[in-house]
Symmetry: C2
Subunit: 761 residues, 2 copies
């Protein structure tokens, strides 16, 4: 399998494909060492309450139970959280959502673990609870945290929105609602940990942020960060749900009580639903206006994000929503208000599209409403207002990097699915209605201002003359590991058999942030490129020394060798490796993503992460057919055009787009965490329905290749942008098909039928 | 002593000054470990002969003698030599000069060593010998080597010299002769070596080329290069005489027979004279012509360099002579022929000015003859013909780098010593004659084409938060170590107390070529600058990570800390060092000197080292007073104007110039290795007279600062250029004073008186 030159731009199959399909590749969940203990958490089962007593005696008495731990056993701050450390490892006084862990059990087997958890008695005095962000802001609402229910309130202003509305020829307003969405990864949260004789903790865990995990564990449990080692194998999916502590602190705590034995914690699907993070539910109030000539002019919106019981990245997610609230358009006058609010719902957190999926739905629908009122073609209307380089976006930030929405829209316009749409719609059979919908979206790349979006790549020339990349940003399935091998192969001129990749391991690789924010390949890739170039230069230089040649320009790296092109002489890499002292066989280089220099005087309430300078763009077109009798919606065809700079690997690019669209179709048509008083009614894949291959049409992915000069080989991240468009595109297609305006997702058959029975508004 | 910010451009006292004056600094000669053995060589004492027998029995019988070794004990090729390996470690069949070693003794004390050497009987059948290079080329001359007496014959041609002479309005011709010159360093050749239990050899040796020494020893003695470690402390002078094997192979051979005990070999002054390398004696036939308007037009010269018994760098030294034979002037038509010839004289080798001192004498005198014939002022004549950037030099190579002779000449022209010279001459007392002489010179920097002129610098951030430079190019007194500390201090913003320098050690530093060819500070400095910049970038990046700051531009290094300027927050370097994994605490970077791209179709006989692209320039003015009664010459005043790009350290710059001028004055007035049939008649400092401080006037050094963009902070090497001018300048002053043309140096009183008695020609 390890054959062929790995280069940039080639549709190289992902290098982990073979080991994954054969089962050879070990995910964190695949580790079952000898002498294993199982750990599990007892969860509150109450949405809001005061803990009176946690009775663990019966559990402790059970044979095979090694330890039962509660709040008093947590030696550190007991607090975790990426920006705000407000989430307890084990709750001691209060519980704020039903999934809150109150005790931790270590047992010899999974069966004993289940029995022991069942025997723990938790007495909780219920407190009044609140489950809606707007209600939570009302005076007298039950308060979750000492500082109240408001996690973040912020405002972005540009121009003078109030005045500008008076200048508009058309104004529309609408309210939108989206539910919590589950990540639904194949491999649920899990890890394995043990304590070394020196007291340090080693953890193999399914995580997107191994380096940050060390900090979380150290802070929560009062450990030295250097005494924690986190190893991150390939993930069976992440989508943001493994960015932040899941099992990490509980597992480290368990390991501290396991007497050196390895401890495994693996949430089953139901626990994953109950205790894991979700895409934030949101309610979005929009009002926007345009001029008669089709120029967007003013926007005012109020965005309420439901953070659930804890902060996680709620504030930052709302920021992204606000920054993208005006869509990828020129909008001179905006007033964008946001509230991110604690409720007793499950915890909201990072998920692909990170706050942007929500507003994309709203704003793209607003665009259609405006186009309709103005009597304009929705594509032309978008094209006319599309952001181009040099424009200011809705947050007042001038776009100085690659900005490729226009070519995306133009590609759609030229495509047969666009030009033939009316014909297709007319071909609907009996009791079927057909509609076509369009959406244009964008998504920021990187952390944004306020913290370093940086990576440190290490490349080693092994004594055998191979190259080993020390990856420090986990591959959760998106394929960044293969992209790194391609980049290294491109620069070092080596085939797959001579390139190795070490998965992230805080003891071997170097801090490079998280796998998230569409930053992974861009940021680490840039650092890696520099490390590879340094290595190449070093090797050519050493070869010049050995061959006593006066300049290094004549040297090239070819598989296994350095070649002096003018003379054709070769030096084996293995031979050269033998000349290097050990400290000189590796090349370490770092990269920091550029940040906005044009920082507008707005959004001052934002702590970190605003504004961004890099965005990827996409325009999606969808064909939808509705069964008038059942309300069933079938997505019949799908075209996704994406601008993400240069494409490193067309196959990987398309896989990312396909995955994002599938996840977006699920979000549009079926996925919603059903909640009643904070309780998840569908905490399993039998009733939380994810789209299967039968629900997803053939998706055509087209790349509009621009060049982002700061990117590795000109690329930008496109892992998220594709997830933002399906919901608004499908909503537009439904309106086109049925004349119905659906403002609350997902568009389940019952909801569609209900709306149809009310008639078009 | 270790105080103050070390920056570039400051007249920082050399950082080794204090340890040297207090005796704390250990030169190689200062090592006297326990259990020491002494090694010494029995030398042939015959200029040319066949070895019949080496009887070592009496020596071996002497109590305290550990071993007596001869040719048969040498396990490898027994050959050493930088380019041509023609010089035996111990002669076995033939001796080619009187200093040839034929046996090696290891003894418990220096006294026993001397007795043992005296007891060795060497029977040599004398062979006819030859002591003049031109005679050595005659048919029937005694042949030193199997391939004959001609080491290298080469020709540089540009334009059509033969034809061009017909176009000249004036033509002059003259023959010049210069003798062998001794380096006369304070610390004679010496070293200490021992064999480790694993068989490897460790050597502390006074050397200019520790990395090449490993190769010489390995080749000569059949060892693995990796099993030899060479450490090079500060040298008590080198001047080229420690570039190439002196004690190295003999000492390694001794160590292999010392049973693990340390062995010291230290040549006394006489042995240093007899066995060490010398500046080549040369005979130079010049013919040159100019146009009536003062334009140089044609040159034909034949240069004979006496390489003595072995090659050392003789061919390359002659090349440099040929490349500089036309002086720093535009000369459209040249035919420069060179012969480097073996004789039974002592071995010629590298010395400051490397072949250029010889031709500078000749060509600068030719310039004066032409100026005189043309009735032109010698300064204006030089100014008119001076090379400028874009011109071709006498070898036909276009000068594309900094070329600063014109400003040097202009600085002389403005100087009071120039404008007041006639007045000064008129003030001569009774029996005194005064003259003023001018010379303009240049000197190539670097190895030239054909082999990599490269360096690899390593910089370490120590766990204590200091910076340690791993120097790999020895400091023989020229001050490069201090220049490196200044460069690192400049970039890293640290004071002297936070900067350390490890002297060259093949086990700790990385191959960077020799300390020679005016390349040392330029080549290693460039590599070091890159290593420092990488380190700085790395540190600012890590600090940005720690402080969670989004860009690295706001960070600066200040003594002991990294400072975030916008916030004023500081991070101790010691703290940051603790965050680095060990492999990441050092920064290694390399540099290769650019080479000529405009390689003329001439000099094809040259093996390596032609042509050069970088030159430093100088113009010197000297005031000389001659005592008519005794022939004594007194140098009364001296002005040296030097162009070497930017000045890193004005104090170091001036010291280099002063040293070069002093050595040049010695070369002009008193230094000559007196030879009779290959025997040195003055092998000691009692009769080989070096100038003392009483012989040297106050020397005014002026720097004309240009910028060499490829140089570290804009500098070029100036260690050699200053040595080329005193001889021609003093000769010019003597002609000015006495009306005598002296074409054979040195200008000793007897020679001057003799010439005076012949009368002016």
């Amino acid at each position: 399998m390890k054959k062929g030159l790995l280069g940039v731009g080639y549709a190289v199959p992902r290098q982990d494909a073979w080991t994954k399909v054969t089962g050879e590749e070990k995910f964190a969940a695949d580790y079952y060492p000898e002498n294993l203990l199982w750990a599990g958490a007892k969860r509150a089962g109450v949405s809001h309450g005061r803990i009176l007593r946690v009775d663990v005696a019966a559990a402790q008495a059970l044979p095979g139970v090694v330890a039962v731990l509660t709040r008093k056993d947590v030696p550190g701050t007991n607090r975790q959280g990426i920006v705000h450390k407000d989430q307890p490892v084990l709750a001691g006084e209060k519980v704020r959502h039903r999934g809150e862990p109150v005790a931790l059990v270590l047992a010899e087997t999974r069966e004993v673990l289940a029995q022991a958890l069942a025997r723990i008695r938790v007495e909780i005095e219920p407190l009044p609870a609140v489950f809606d962000p707007e209600e939570a802001l009302q005076p007298g609402a039950p308060q979750l945290h000492e500082r109240g229910n408001l996690l973040l309130r912020a405002k972005i202003e540009q121009g003078q929105a109030d005045e500008a509305f008076k200048e508009c020829d058309v104004v529309v307003a609408e309210t939108f609602e989206v539910p919590f969405q589950e990540h639904g990864f194949l491999e649920t949260q899990n890890g394995l940990a043990w304590q070394e004789p020196d007291g340090s903790i080693v953890m193999i865990v399914s995580t997107q942020a191994p380096f940050r995990d060390r900090f979380e564990i150290a802070h929560a449990l009062g450990l030295e960060m250097g005494a924690i080692r986190v190893i991150s194998p390939y993930l069976g999916g992440g989508f943001g749900g493994k960015d932040g502590a899941t099992v990490q602190c509980l597992l480290a705590l368990a390991a501290m009580h396991a007497g050196g034995r390895p401890v495994k914690m693996w949430w089953d699907r139901e626990e994953s639903f109950i205790a894991g993070y979700k895409r934030h539910a949101a309610r979005l109030y929009y009002r926007a206006g345009a001029k008669a000539d089709g120029t967007l002019h003013a926007l005012h919106c109020r965005l309420y994000y439901d953070s659930g019981a804890y902060a996680h990245l709620g504030g930052e997610i709302m920021e992204l929503g606000m920054e993208h609230a005006g869509g990828p358009y020129r909008l001179p006058h905006t007033c964008i208000e946001g509230w991110c609010v604690y409720t007793n719902n499950p915890i909201g957190g990072a998920m692909r599209g990170f706050g942007v999926c929500q507003v994309s739905f709203a704003f793209e629908r607003i665009m259609d409403l405006l186009a309709s009122k103005l009597g304009l073609d929705p594509l032309d209307f978008r094209r006319r207002n599309a952001l181009q380089r040099g424009d200011k976006n809705c947050a007042g930030v001038t776009l100085v990097h690659s900005t490729g929405l226009v070519p995306c829209l133009e590609a759609i316009k030229r495509h047969a699915l666009w030009t033939d749409r009316e014909k297709w719609k007319q071909g609907a059979g009996p009791f079927k209605k057909r509609g076509v919908g369009l959406a244009a979206v964008f998504n920021a790349m990187g952390y944004g201002r306020g913290l370093p979006d940086s990576a440190i790549a290490k490349l080693e020339l092994t004594p055998e003359g191979k190259f080993r990349i020390y990856n420090s940003v986990p591959d959760m399935g998106q394929g960044n590991a293969t992209a790194f091998l391609q980049m290294a192969g491109e620069i070092l001129g080596q085939d797959a058999s001579r390139l190795e990749l070490v998965p992230p391991d805080t003891a071997r690789s170097l801090p490079s942030g998280s796998s998230s924010a569409s930053r992974t390949t861009y940021t680490f890739g840039n650092a890696l490129i520099r490390a590879c170039q340094e290595m190449k230069e070093k090797l050519c230089h050493r070869a010049a020394l050995v061959l006593m040649t006066d300049e290094v320009r004549g040297f090239a790296l070819v598989p296994g060798k350095v070649r002096h092109l003018p003379s054709g002489r070769n030096l084996d890499l293995e031979f050269l490796a033998g000349l290097f002292p050990e400290t000189d066989r590796s090349s370490v280089s770092q990269f920091v993503m550029p940040v906005a220099q044009d920082v507008p005087d707005t959004g001052k309430e934002f702590f970190i992460g605003f504004p961004h300078v890099f965005f990827s763009y996409a325009a999606h077109l969808v064909y939808v057919e509705v069964d008038e009798l059942t309300g069933t919606i079938e997505v019949r065809d799908y075209l996704a055009v994406t601008e993400g700079g240069r494409v490193i690997n067309p196959q990987g690019f398309e896989q990312q787009v396909q995955g994002a669209v599938a996840q977006g179709i699920g979000y549009a048509l079926m996925e919603q965490v059903l909640l009643h008083q904070g309780e998840i009614l569908n905490p399993n894949l039998t009733n939380y329905i994810l789209p299967t291959s039968r629900d997803i049409p053939g998706i055509e992915s087209m790349a509009v290749e621009t060049v982002e000069p700061t990117g590795p080989f000109g690329m930008k991240g496109i892992g998220e942008v594709g997830a933002n468009a399906p919901l608004p595109a499908i909503a537009a297609a439904l309106e086109d098909a049925l004349g119905l305006r659906l403002t609350r997702s997902p568009f389940t058959p019952d909801r569609v039928l209900g709306k149809m029975s009310q008639g078009a508004r």
